[in-house]
Amino acid sequence: MAMPAATEFDAQRPEVDAIRAGDRRAFAEFVRSHDKWVRGVVFGVLGSCDDIDDVCQQVWITFWRRIGELRDTSSWRSWLYRLSRNAAIDAGREKTRRRTRFPSTSIEGVEGQVPAGGPRDETRERYEAVLGAIGGLPVLYREPFVMKHMNGWSYKQISEALGLPVDTVETRLVRARRLLRETLKEQVVLGDVERS
């Protein structure tokens, strides 16, 4: 699975080299710069905020520990993408196991979608509802949708990341939007926004 052309991200390459050399400050800066899209990838796979902090933390720890294995530093982004996606998939499996083991425990849903530190009151409720609706999308629609909206990737970048033709990405985005619009209309969230 390839990611956006390496040249687009070569500006980050010295930073990656510094991290490889063990520069903690460069690592901290790198986490600050790229944590957002890593969270996007994780949320795109998980569809929930329940474990997102833990998974992201694990991703970065793995990144630091295994950066030495990255031979071509120009491909750091696709490598980080794979780390994030795999960590999220593993977390999702673990979540499923937990749910099987403790079926009475509700660990998914709209409640608690927005992590601590997020907005409060009405805005928070609305965001929870929206994230819940996004989280409820089938993963094949959710992933490109989150990549587009959270990470701002182009169709081409998404298609390379997911290993799909550009047309397929576009179709999935259209369907994701359709499903989301229907869900938000049902929850009257969309009407609220339009009124406000």
Binding site: R24, F27, A28, V31, R32, D35, K36, W37, R39, G40, F43, C49, I52, D53, C56, Q57, W60, I61, F63, W64, R65, V114, P115, A116, G117, G118, P119, R126, Y127, V130, L131, I134, F145, V146, K148, H149, M150, S154, Y155, E170, L173, V174, R177, R178, L180, R181, L184, K185, V189, L190, V193, E194
Partner: protein, 204 residues
């Protein structure tokens, strides 16, 4: 949903992503002017998109505690060698258990004559010149000798050891020391069978 609606939906989606070319933009504009349903769809999609973008942006803003992550990651990296050692340490436990079980289960081959493993387990009666191994058949005559009876050299151990090999020294009546090389291989370890049957690997 009709084909027309699907087409409008696709155009709206592309428009929201900023992916429309001039021809498509013109087509969408025309639809929006003449079709109120298209306008309503456009508004709803735009609203949903804005909400999703805001919620996801907020999710991204929540972020992680970078300092904590850096501290954790770098600490773990430093701990790697210790963890490896620790894992090896744990391997010693099942290894020791396996060795103990093997020692109990696998019969000892030849040198089973008591606590002193450095002493040969057979004795040679120098007086009668007959070989005696306590409760065992007579010691065979080493190859190359002239079938002369053997004896040990006093109380001194004539057993030499090296990893995987032992030499048992016996002195023949001709005064020469005969060294018998014993390969301590797995085959020999199960030679307890020979012992039970009254034989000895020395016959090989």
């Amino acid at each position: 949903m009709s084909d027309v609606e699907e087409n409008i939906e696709r155009l709206i989606s592309r428009s929201l992503d900023g992916m429309l070319d001039d021809r498509q933009q013109l087509e969408l504009d025309r639809e929006l002017i003449r079709n109120p349903e298209a306008r309503r769809m456009m508004e709803e999609y735009r609203g949903a998109d804005a909400l999703a973008a805001a919620a996801l942006a907020d999710l991204g803003r929540a972020g992680v505690d970078v300092d904590r992550i850096v501290a954790k990651a770098t600490r773990r990296k430093a701990e790697v060698p210790r963890r490896h050692r620790s894992r090896r340490g744990w391997l010693l436990v099942p290894g020791a258990i396996a060795a103990a079980v093997l020692a109990m289960v696998v019969p000892k081959p030849l040198f089973d004559g008591g606590d002193d493993l450095h002493a040969p387990t057979f004795s040679v009666d120098a007086e009668s010149s007959t070989h005696r191994q306590l409760g065992r058949p007579p010691l065979p005559v080493p190859m190359g000798s002239n079938a002369a009876p053997m004896r040990t050299v006093g109380d001194r151990s004539m057993l030499r050891r090296r990893a995987g090999t032992e030499w048992i020294g016996v002195v023949g009546d001709d005064g020469n020391v005969y060294w018998i090389e014993v390969q301590r291989t797995r085959t020999i370890r199960i030679a307890g069978h020979n012992r039970r049957m009254g034989g000895s690997f020395l016959e090989r």
